[in-house]
């Protein structure tokens, strides 16, 4: 069997008395789209902080493409592409300068330019390359962040609630595009969300609740297990919390 894109093995993390993650295990295979579904406060953000090496877990191990995050963090980070929940473009810089910044941090050298042109063209933003990031709409900024995360051709793409603040059209486009990437490039994707509809087409859904994995299966199997007809109802049955269909407008 080929190397898993991500392996999380019995990871725990506490903040004081609060156990944010409790012996959590999960895996994402190559070419697999895994949705991490959980209500706010389930531990998704904590997990992503550990996956990106921002913190280290109290117990357990994380491997990205076979590289241990603690022992071999540089190799692991090199295989990792991340779109953060928070916007992370430098709005004062142009689109291309933002991408170049990332390419240099990853030591991409001479091939950076071709990769930047390629990724921008794929998302239809080639003509915006010289524009300041500030001039872009929310949806386009997210696309640029995704293009940036793909520049160094990661084996694992982490999407941390990437649709927060996007309109329904942009949301759908983003989900579609990432599914396509997953199939085309054989990249593993871990997509965290609290929105059930984003998880519906995932290969597998992991339901996270109060720091624990309470279910992992295909959307259909989760419905069968809970004797429900929709993933939303299955989620409700599993967590006892009302699911969200789409982003609530504030």
């Amino acid at each position: 069997m080929s190397q898993a894109a991500l392996k999380v093995d019995a990871v725990s993390k506490s903040y004081g008395a609060v156990k944010a993650l409790d012996t959590l295990s999960l895996a994402v295979e190559q070419g697999e789209f895994v949705a991490l579904l959980g209500p706010n406060g389930a531990g998704k953000s904590t997990l992503f902080q550990l996956l990106t090496g921002l913190f280290v877990p109290d117990e357990g191990a994380i491997e990205v493409a076979g590289y241990n995050m603690r022992r071999d963090s540089r190799a692991a980070l090199a295989k990792l592409g991340v779109v953060f929940q928070q916007p992370t473009l430098d709005l004062d810089l142009s689109v291309v300068a933002n991408l170049k910044f990332h390419a240099r941090l990853h030591g991409m050298g001479a091939k950076a330019k071709a990769r930047i042109d390629d990724e921008l063209a794929r998302i239809g933003q080639a003509e915006r390359a010289k524009d300041p990031a500030r001039a872009l709409s929310g949806g386009n900024r997210r696309k640029i962040e995704l293009a940036r995360a793909l520049l160094h051709e990661p084996a694992l793409l982490l999407m941390d609630e990437p649709t927060v603040g996007l309109d329904p059209g942009s949301r759908e486009l983003l989900v579609d595009y990432v599914h396509k990437l997953c199939a085309e490039r054989g990249m593993g994707v871990l997509w965290a969300t609290h929105l059930v509809d984003e998880a519906e087409r995932a290969h597998r859904v992991i339901v996270l609740h109060k720091g624990q994995r309470i279910a992992v299966d295909t959307p259909r199997a989760l419905c069968e297990q809970t004797d429900t007809t929709s993933l939303g109802a299955a989620f409700l049955a599993l967590t006892g919390e009302a699911p969200k269909k789409k982003e609530e407008t504030v």
Partner: protein, 268 residues
Amino acid sequence: MARIAHVFQALMAVSSRETVKFMHQRGRLASAVVRPSLWLLIFAAGFKNVFGISVLPPYESYIEYQVYVVPGLLGMVLLFNGMQSSLAMVYDREMGLMRLLLTAPLPRSVLLACKLLAGTFLSVLQAYAFLVVCALFGVDLPWWPGLLTVLPALILTGLMLGALGLLLSVYIKQLENFAGTMNFVIFPMFFLSPALYPLWRLQESGATVIYQLSRINPFTHGVELVRFALYGQLNAVSLAVVAGTLVVFFAAAVWGYDPQRGLVRRRG
């Protein structure tokens, strides 16, 4: 080799971003030059006849107050910019950009060193901009080879104050807290130093505690290192203190940014 090339690229990434941003912020460049210039032209003009500066090393004869105050004001430029890079770190953290930086496949110490070098480059640039102002107003400095010999001292002092900025950025959690913290750092450091008057004056006036505090202030040694270097001389004690403090501040900052200890406060 590939590793060195990678580190160099990361340095260029951080450095060019900060330089581009700096150039966009005209106000920052202007204030970096105007602030010490005001001290030089107004404060020093007013105090010209109040302080008599006796002959003390590295000076070989009596000097004007304006001449005395320049190294201190260079220190001020470096100090403000060092703190500014701290502000930039806190800003990046609030904006989420810090995460991008910290997920780069490089050791954190290297990433922090890139930040430090990029900030120091801007510090030194501003220090030279201020020296141009000094030249324009006819301050009697040893321009040649002083402009050249002062460079290593400016770099080292800039690094030391930049490392202090990095260290502070570990503990300043929010932008709002920044101004307050700065008042507790910039002003005491600047006033407890020989930037504006020689320390023996403090001793003479019996302000023993202030005198002793000033002597252990690393900024004091930064200013003296710059002062001596401007005259082509080496103040070995100051060099040792500045270099030692740089190592300590930087090591503490790296420690503070260690993932085991946590940099960003927890969310969700």
